[in-house]
């Protein structure tokens, strides 16, 4: 399975990359980590006229913390995120989610920007961005704009990025100190895409809950923010009964697909089960436990 021919460019700056995108008028694809794109090229399921390689733009890889936000350059490798002390301290949910992304050799090359731009709803990063209320910075010929997670992901493998735009930065509000968190995932084998995954953050004390954040992977064409389940916890607290109620509500909030690996009903069941497990683990971690 060999890729079809394409023009290849490896520009040294973002602006040159944007100019190239404009020149190819929608017929070029951006190459980030390649862990999702290259298989599509090898299967000849994707036949772009050109590849614009972002790997020669060093200014796109960084992890910075300032003003209560953690900012990651789009080309920051998943492996770097996995071992980053800043991420472990300020975005522990992202660190935990990263361990589920494929295997270490995939994380060597895969990037956070690439994962978000690819927008596979079974992947861990779109879900985590959604749960933590993150946003992305996108640059195009007309300048920069910021997109919230809910606006970025449009449909299965489709984002709001224009054909001449590049995702350049990912921003997360730092998780509050003492926030409980957990990423739960069920897959057929270790390292596979999630059949269903749940990202959870819980802020509270004892049985009271100030804020809860829950988002899904694999339960629909987009990550789903389970607001209805969050509200139950914020209103009723963190008792076993409330967790159970939130988990049941979560299952009602999703409209999952059916495929050869899992039916919609089974995915709904997993949504309920994994929401419960994620909440229990997150709550146990509250207060820095």
């Amino acid at each position: 399975m060999k890729p079809p021919k394409f023009d290849y460019h490896a520009p040294p700056t973002v602006d040159e990359a944007i100019a190239l995108l404009t020149r190819y008028g929608g017929e070029a694809k951006l190459l980030a980590g390649g862990q999702s794109l290259v298989p599509l090229l090898n299967f000849r399921l994707s036949r772009p006229a050109a590849l614009i390689d972002l790997n020669r733009i060093p200014s796109l890889a960084y992890i910075r913390e300032a003003d209560g936000y953690v900012r990651l350059g789009a080309m920051t490798r998943q492996r770097t995120i996995e071992f980053s002390p800043v991420v472990r301290r300020r975005l522990p949910l992202l660190a935990e989610a990263t361990a589920f992304v494929g295997h270490l050799p995939i994380r060597t090359r895969g990037t956070i920007g690439g994962s978000l731009a690819h927008a596979d709803p079974s992947a861990e990063y779109p879900t985590t961005l959604t749960a933590l209320g993150g946003e992305v910075v996108v640059r195009g010929p007309r300048g920069e704009r910021t997109l919230q997670a809910g606006d970025l992901f449009q449909s299965y493998l489709a984002t709001a990025l224009g054909a001449d735009e590049i995702l350049v930065e990912v921003r997360f509000p730092a998780m509050p100190d003492g926030a409980g968190f957990a990423f739960e995932e069920f897959s057929r084998r270790h390292g596979d895409f999630a059949i269903v995954g749940i990202a959870a953050m819980v802020i509270g004390q004892g049985l009271s809950c100030t804020a809860a954040r829950l988002a899904t992977a694999g339960a629909g064409p987009l990550p789903v923010r389970l607001r209805g389940a969050e509200e139950i916890l914020e209103r009723e607290g963190l008792s076993a009964a409330a967790i159970e109620a939130a988990a049941r509500r979560a299952a009602q909030l999703v409209d999952p697909p059916s495929d050869i690996h899992a039916s919609a009903d089974y995915r709904r069941n997993l949504t309920r089960v994994l929401t419960g497990r994620a909440l229990r683990r997150a709550i146990a971690r509250m207060g820095g436990a």
Binding site: K2, H190, I260, S263, Y266
Partner: protein, 785 residues
């Protein structure tokens, strides 16, 4: 530990492998690594439809692409090759014509229609993209049950039916056995379609030298001898002008034991073009076109007496054999083994097994590790557990009551197989001991409200291995699978080569057969080099498959080594002026017992052997080599008991295998380390079969599991530690006492794991009838929370 310097200790020693060094340092030589001058690279245009007539193929645009040398369809090759046809004299069997490039019709998605030869694989695929095909789609046939109705679409109109074979075995009066007071358990089981997925995809390189008329085919195959014979007939090239070489091969598992259309196409194309042509299959092609396996629906019933002893067993088996009958095994090999071996290692006084092999628009079915017995073991072991549950018996007690006992040997099974040894109960008892069966049961979690249940599953099986010429590997097929040869040669420098018609693909023949030769001949292991996998370099043979190499290859090695040893000693006796009965040959030195200074090295003996008649005993012919063939005539019996302990998560609907025990009797072991590796590797494939792997086609015959993202083979994280214990009861029937090994893991593991899951779910009254047990299937079986 074993003193490696002592030749006597070699057979039975866990010697580290000779082949490791090149494989560990990236210096293995697989077909994809072989480069010949002027070589072209091939890519195939493959059918998008499962069932269609081909109206026309448009190649003009593709021909114009740079780097493209040739594009061929069947019309271009039909003067150089005949269709592949797997013949068999079996009654009720219909052979199919399988042109290596589709003639007028395609019958499965992925069937090759055209081949492109170009400078690079990249360019060849570009050309494939540009070839246009006009299809007339036909109604695809996907369900073997409906395919059995001859009024529906026919895959092979000339045959007039989709039922390519029928076969039955019976013993006694099974209908009477089921009548009257008896406990009867039964169900319709479905062991779904599987693929071998060797990590090395199939590949071949054909090199026809026009000047000499010699054809060399390098192929990632298990059966170079069979391929050579088949090609001679199909290509019309005399066999002595054909050489088939299997270099390093990256796994085969039976899947690489058939003749494939690509092999024929490349040979014909190389002949036409006068240049070497190489094809390296990719993973998509592998999943679409390599032979598939184990896809049988089995309606089976078991009747037992109140004391648990079996009265009767009857079964109807429908196998989905795909679009063509593979050469040389035929479409029958899988399903016939299901009904032949369904009674297993048990006393079954009354039996009837009926089988149908039905063609559908899927890739052809072929042999895969265990061949039929993973399915038969799954069914029989499930029936025994159900009967045990009905009677309130422990499953182990159920088996104890029915296993064939040593004193009943030789035992003729209902299908006519004769078991020559029966240490089945011993494997069962020992497995229970190793697993701590009593403790497993005592600690078992059986309360569904805990949401995690544990289960224990047992499977005992027997497999016919080392099959000689009396028993056809595939009934009625005209292939010689019962013999192998060995040529043991000492050269004038005193080093030994041992050449075989076997073709190793991971089993370590270069080590294990060297162990046999070195011990029997009386030299150091390092003095022996094993050659295999090359029809130009060894005696006539078929290859490595069916757990036969240790028995038949080992037997031939013993005969040839002994012959050379005998001659060497006669020469030494002559030179040393000693009585040959006073001589011994050890560590490469022949010496007089008790007088070690009166000795000759094998090198000196060899120099005499080749030095001329003056140096030899009167009347002795020069030379120091022997070619011997071995036919064990019948077969022997390897057996084992597997015990699996699983944990079922009722919320996730997932199964984890926590512990796995194998106690096996493979007779006398040549290299226990290699045998253990074979057992564990087989268990991994069996675990995959039970929980993860399934080839799925949709109703239109499109393959839905066309990548390794969808066809899921187990990784290290899915496997438990497997504890293997060997019982060594030498075979009474084979030279050397070897019984053979290799397939046991896949035979026992699906049944053991299925039984463990059923055991875990017994409190909920759920039985397991379909493999793989996916989370989705489990979800549908469980009561909703």
């Amino acid at each position: 530990m074993i003193d490696r310097g002592t030749p006597r200790a070699l057979i039975g020693a866990p010697i580290r492998r000779v082949e490791d060094h090149r494989l560990l340092t990236g210096r293995g030589r697989y077909v994809a690594d072989v480069v010949l001058p002027g070589m072209l690279q091939a890519a195939f245009l493959r059918s998008l439809h499962a069932h269609a007539r081909i109206l026309s193929v448009h190649r003009a645009a593709a021909q114009l692409l740079p780097g493209v040398t040739a594009i061929a369809t069947w019309d271009d090759l039909r003067d150089h090759a005949r269709p592949i046809r797997a013949a068999s004299r079996m009654t009720g069997y219909h052979a199919t014509d399988f042109p290596p490039l589709a003639a007028d019709k395609v019958r499965y998605v992925g069937e090759a229609i055209a081949v492109v030869a170009a400078d690079t694989r990249y360019a060849a695929e570009d050309a494939v993209d540009r070839i246009g095909v006009d299809y007339e789609p036909l109604e695809p046939v996907g369900d073997p049950r409906t395919a059995m109705d001859d009024r529906g679409p026919l895959l092979h109109e000339a045959i007039g039916t989709n039922v390519l074979l029928t076969r039955a075995f019976s013993q006694g009066d099974v209908d009477t056995a089921f009548a009257g007071p008896a406990v009867v358990v039964g169900d319709r089981f479905w062991f779904h379609r599987h693929a071998a997925v060797a990590i090395e995809n199939r590949a071949c390189l054909a090199d026809y030298e026009a000047g000499s008329g010699l054809l060399t085919l390098w192929s990632s195959t298990q059966v170079p001898g069979m391929i050579r014979e088949a090609l001679a007939e199909i290509l019309g090239i005399p066999a002595h002008c054909i050489r088939v070489v299997a270099p390093d091969v990256g796994g085969g598992f039976g899947m690489k034991s058939a003749l494939y259309p690509e092999e024929v196409t490349l040979c014909a194309l190389s002949r036409r073009l006068g240049r070497p042509v190489k094809w390296v299959g990719d993973r998509r092609e592998d999943l679409m076109t390599s032979t598939q396996a184990w896809d049988e629906q089995v309606e089976a019933e078991l009747a037992v007496n109140p004391d648990g002893t079996i009265r009767g067993l009857r079964a109807k088996v429908i196998a989905d054999v795909g679009a063509y009958s593979v050469h040389p095994w035929t479409a029958s090999i899988e399903v016939i083994q299901v009904i032949s071996f369904l009674p297993g290692p048990y006393r079954v006084p009354h039996y009837r097994g009926e089988a149908w092999g039905v063609a559908t628009n899927k890739a052809p079915m072929g042999p895969y590790r265990g061949v039929g017995r993973p399915v038969s073991t799954f069914v029989m072991e499930a029936l025994l557990d159900r009967a045990a549950r009905r009677l309130g018996m422990d499953p182990v007690a159920m088996r104890r009551a029915n296993l064939i006992r040593p004193e009943q040997i030789p035992y003729r099974s209902p299908s006519g197989i004769v078991w020559d040894s029966a240490n089945f109960a011993e494997t069962l008892e020992r497995a229970c001991q190793v697993a701590g069966y009593e403790t497993l049961r005592a600690d078992q979690r059986r309360d569904p409200s805990a949401r995690r249940l544990t289960g224990v599953g047992v499977a005992t099986y027997v497999e016919l291995t080392g099959v000689g010429s009396a028993i056809p590997a595939s009934p009625g097929a005209d292939i010689a699978t019962g013999t192998e040869g060995a040529t043991v040669r000492v050269d004038p420098a005193g080093t030994v080569t041992a050449a075989f018609g076997l073709a190793c693909h991971g089993q370590g023949h270069e080590t294990s057969l060297a162990q046999v030769v070195a011990q029997e001949l009386g030299v150091h292991l390092a003095d022996v080099r094993v050659i295999h996998g090359d029809t130009g370099a060894g005696p006539v043979g078929s290859g490595t498959y069916a757990s036969r190499s240790a028995v038949i290859g080992g037997g031939a090695a013993i005969l040839a080594s002994r012959a050379v040893r005998e001659k060497a000693l006669l020469i030494a006796a002559h030179r040393l002026e000693a009585d040959v009965r006073d001589l011994e040959l050890a560590g490469g030195v022949a010496s007089v017992r008790g007088a070690p200074d009166r000795s000759l090295s094998l090198r000196e003996i060899a120099r005499c052997a080749y030095g001329g008649v003056k140096r030899l005993p009167k009347g002795m012919e020069p030379g120091l080599e022997s070619t011997r063939f071995y036919d064990p005539y019948v077969g022997t019996a390897s057996s084992a008991t597997h015990i699996a302990m699983v944990e079922v998560d009722l919320d996730l609907c997932s199964v984890a295998v926590r512990r796995y025990v194998v106690v096996e009797d493979c007779g006398r072991l040549i290299n226990p380390m290699i045998v253990e590796g074979q057992a564990i590797g087989g268990v991994a494939q069996g675990l995959g079969a039970a929980l993860l792997e399934e080839i799925v086609y949709d109703g239109g015959g499109q393959l839905l599991t066309g990548s390794l993202m969808d066809y899921l083979v187990p990784s290290a994280a899915e496997m438990p530690t497997v504890e293997v214990t060997h019982l060594e009861h030498p075979s009474p029937s084979t030279l050397g006492g070897f019984k053979g090994a290799g397939e046991g893991g896949t035979i026992g593991a699906p049944g053991a794991i299925a039984n463990a899951v059923a055991d875990a779910l017994a409190p909920l009254g759920i039985e397991i009838v379909e493999l793989p047990i996916t989370p989705e299937r489990l979800f549908q079986l469980l009561p909703r929370a």
